[in-house]
């Protein structure tokens, strides 16, 4: 480190609330960044890393958030206690920030041009014409050349990756000295993540700015930064050069983080286990309706003729980017979506089976969803959530006590306490909620579970735990999984067979070993590069 670092945080504390309700989010964190340097701040959700980042520009919800102590110096200037006007001068000009959710971080009602040029108007007092030229320049810089024609387009008209590019363009408009990126790629597919990381790296080299990267993903740290600070429970527990930390982690928490990436391989499964689920030429088409009479004029072919077979104790990994139709495939197999083509479940064609015929079969096929927050009713206790399926199917015993015991056993199986059933979802973390979702599926003793991106919303270390749990449950109950994910890293740890999807069609399908060792299709290779190496695709098979 040179004599005066660009940013120096010294003994920073952040608390929310006061008195008996005080929550200490950050407890005396110190870190420094030099000019042009990339520094990563890594930690799990709730470790205080985002709060630390937001403290720099003082964007926390004051006065309910406050700083008991600490100092933040930017280029030698003390920001703690600096006036609001001075901070406004720095925000978006010398220090810029990008966030995790690009869609919600952009104003839904303002055009792209308006949002980007606002930074120029506020700080450089630029005229409209000049600002527009600069906005176009910036859009080219972040690789959105065609956006020049879409200056008046609104955020929702862009894909997630493009939205984040717009955020980056906005942040870089005034060529800041420091860019703080708070989990910039967590909300996007791995392929897009790789592209965005490459973009950030290139732009950093071009503009010579420093980058403070907040992430929970050590893979990103390794690829992007020179130095790293590891944060846990509001404290910086370890710091140093990335290479050193990865080679010889000293703090137990760092070691745990390093060990936490989803790893291992699925348990070998018997090749002639009985077939649970099979589909041939399955099609899920959504009609496009137009006109006053709502006539069907066209179809969106989400799944367009997919044939698959799944045996007991096996996992079929369905891989693809957002919009590839993988979720529609899962929902189609469970008859949650109208489809065409045979669906054979436990030897019986369920395509066309009526509601009443299907009902007893439903307990044998279950689903776990991606969003652990949206998929559990906030008004029901965990016990009621798990119990609902039992009541529908008349399982788990006749008395309340018996059912309570059954629910308790299901919770225990997923690594929760039996007496947690009287609590409500908001009292649980994301990983725990996903365990509740799994318990809800498991309590009905299913043969087949569709897991729709069950780990995507979770921290890396929690992902590893869930993968571990799923493997263990599969072994114990001989379950068949359809595991849907965009992340090949997780799929490799779980799947016996893999099906790569794109635009509703199969790109490649076969045993996992074969696909992972020698992928035939360039698209599969691009997905693998993105997942394992965080390498952006340059052949053009992955679109923006």
């Amino acid at each position: 480190m040179s004599a005066t670092p660009l940013l120096e945080i010294d003994g920073l504390s952040v608390s929310f609330g006061a008195g008996g309700r005080e929550v200490k989010a950050v407890r005396g964190a110190s870190l420094g960044i030099d000019k042009g340097e990339t520094v990563a701040l890594v930690g799990e959700s709730g470790s205080g890393k985002s709060v630390t980042a937001l403290s720099v520009l003082q964007l926390l919800p004051y006065p309910s958030a406050w700083h008991p102590q600490g100092s933040i110096r930017f280029a030698g200037e003390e920001l703690m206690g600096a006036g609001e006007a001075r901070l406004r001068d720095l925000r978006g000009d010398r220090i810029a920030m990008i966030f995790q959710e690009p869609l919600t971080s952009l104003n839904p009602l303002h055009s792209v041009e308006r949002q980007i040029s606002e930074v120029l108007l506020v700080h450089k007092l630029m005229g409209r014409e000049k600002a527009r030229r600069r906005t176009i320049e910036l859009l080219h810089l972040v690789g959105l050349a065609e956006a020049t024609e879409r200056l008046h387009a609104l955020p929702y008209e862009f894909s997630g990756g493009q939205q984040q590019r717009i955020m980056i363009a906005m942040a870089l408009a005034n060529e800041p000295d420091l860019l703080i990126a708070d989990e910039p790629t967590t909300a996007v597919d791995v392929t897009i993540q790789a592209q965005l990381l490459k973009l950030l790296k290139d732009l950093q080299a071009e503009l010579g700015m420093a980058l403070l990267l907040i992430t929970h993903d050590l893979g990103i740290v390794r690829r992007m930064s020179e130095r790293v600070y590891v944060m846990n429970a509001g404290r910086i527990v370890e710091q140093g050069k990335v290479a050193d930390i990865f080679a010889t982690p000293r703090h137990p928490h760092t070691r745990r983080l390093l060990a936490a990436e989803p790893s291992g391989r699925p348990e070998p499964a018997s090749r002639d286990a009985p077939e649970v689920m099979a589909a041939s030429q399955l099609k899920v088409w959504f009609p496009v309706k137009k006109g006053i009479l709502r006539r069907t004029v066209d179809h969106i072919k989400a799944v367009d003729g997919i044939t698959l077979q799944l045996r007991r104790g096996h996992t079929l990994g369905v891989v693809g980017e957002s919009g590839s139709g993988k979720s529609s495939l899962g929902r189609g197999l469970l008859r949650l979506e109208r489809s065409q083509g045979a669906i054979v479940f436990n030897g019986r064609d369920i395509q066309g089976a009526g509601f009443k015929e299907l009902r007893p079969l439903r307990k044998k096929m279950q689903m776990v969803f991606q969003d652990p927050f949206g998929s559990l009713s906030p008004r029901l206790s965990v016990g009621q959530i798990v119990e609902e399926g039992l009541l529908v199917h008349g399982l788990g015993g006749d008395s309340y006590q018996e059912r309570r015991a059954t629910i308790g056993r299901a919770l225990e199986e997923v690594g929760l306490e039996p007496d947690m059933q009287s609590r409500y979802p908001h009292e649980f973390s994301g990983g725990q909620r996903q365990r509740v979702s799994i318990a809800r599926a498991l309590v009905l003793k299913p043969d087949f579970i569709v897991l729709d991106e069950p780990t995507s919303a979770l921290d890396m270390s929690i992902q590893a735990q869930i993968v571990e749990l799923l493997r263990e449950l599969q072994r114990r109950h001989d379950l068949a999984y359809l595991f849907i994910s965009h992340d090949l890293k997780v799929v490799r740890a779980l799947a016996h067979e893999v099906l790569v999807m794109r635009g509703g069609l199969v790109v490649e399908q076969g045993p996992a070993d074969e696909i992972f060792t020698c992928p035939k299709d360039p698209y599969t290779r691009a997905l693998m590069d993105a997942a394992f190496e965080m390498k952006a695709d340059e052949t053009g098979v992955v679109s923006l």
């Binding site: 925000r91 978006g92 920030m97 952009l106 104003n107 009602l109 506020v122």
Partner: protein, 317 residues
């Protein structure tokens, strides 16, 4: 867009048609008919006379037949004769409508003019002294019974101070601006106090929600000042839910405010509809209620257009 409008107009016609039957049928269910009132007014009418009168007015026919007769005439522009006012229905209706639009139009305008900024001021610093004060006043306005407040206003301004008239629309022969305006002051004040609290609370809730969004944090991270954050980023997003509420008020604008109109002896739509129903004035009540239905439909259409104007993500095809 024009297609959307056409679609909506067709829909509105269907609703109007259905509502006309429902209202006609409900009024047929009401106890008594105009002839009963005539009997009570003139004890010399015999039951044979009554039966002849019923046959003359067609009241002895089944309700569907009566409805179809009415519908045929109404489509031809003949809305019948108001028994209470002894003139054709449109002539009886229009003055009341004009009075009500004037009264409630001014009220809605004032209520929004005060309520929206007050709600914003409260939302910018929730749970501050400003917020608590504004909330206290808003709840006071919502909670005060309109008739009680009206009586209080009359006692203070008409009885004690004697500066404003206690009721009516205009003095005899007085047609200057102030002559008419002074009759509006108390009813407008009464209705504004009753409705401004609601508008304040809606605006406050919508604004707090908007200010909590991620894009507000982005705006602040860009270096935008408080005025730019609130007016440039949050306001338009916050107005979208408020438009729904105001569009509901639009219907209320024409249906009148019965209690206030009664206390201040103000001849508006609320009082007209009430009198027409109580007096078994079928023709007048039917048209007045249908007219209110039509205006509520127009209010909803305007709300949809306002959504599209506020939120460019909404486009109608």
């Amino acid at each position: 867009m024009s297609r959307f409008l056409l679609h909506r107009l067709l829909q509105s016609l269907v609703v109007l048609f259905l509502m006309s039957f429902v209202i006609y049928w409900l009024m047929g269910l009401m106890p008594g008919d105009p002839i009963d009132l005539m009997i009570s007014a003139d004890p010399k009418i015999t039951s044979e006379d009554a039966a002849r009168l019923r046959a003359l007015y067609g009241l002895d026919k089944p309700i569907t037949e009566r409805y179809l007769n009415w519908l045929g005439a109404a489509v031809g522009g003949d809305f019948g004769f108001s028994r209470l006012y002894a003139k054709p229905v449109p002539e009886a209706l229009l003055p009341a409508l004009a009075n009500t639009v004037r009264l409630l139009g001014i009220t809605l305008f004032l209520s929004l003019l005060i309520g929206l900024p007050a709600g914003m001021a409260a939302a910018i610093r929730p749970y501050s002294k400003t917020d608590y004060t504004i909330n206290l006043l808003a709840f006071a306005g919502i909670s005060l019974p309109a008739f009680w407040l009206a009586l209080l206003l009359i006692i203070v301004f008409s009885v004690f101070l004697g500066v404003l008239p206690a009721g009516g629309v205009a003095a005899l022969g007085g047609d200057g601006f102030w002559d008419q305006a002074k009759y509006l002051v108390l009813p407008v004040a009464n209705l504004t106090i009753a409705s401004v609290g609601g508008h304040t609370r809606y605006m406050r809730a919508a604004m707090i929600e908007a200010l909590r969004q991620d894009y507000i944090r982005t705006a602040r991270a860009k270096g935008a000042g408080p005025a730019r954050v609130v007016l440039g980023h949050a306001l338009r997003n916050a107005l979208i839910p408020v438009v729904t509420i105001v569009s509901l008020d639009f219907g209320f604008l024409f249906s009148g405010a019965l209690i206030t109109e009664t206390v201040f002896a103000y001849p508006g739509m609320g009082k007209l509809i009430f009198d027409a129903i109580m007096g078994n004035d079928y023709n007048l009540a039917l048209v007045a209620l249908l007219f209110v239905t039509l205006l509520i439909l127009i209010g909803n259409l305007l709300a949809d257009l306002a959504y599209a104007w506020l939120d460019p993500r909404i486009s109608y095809r």
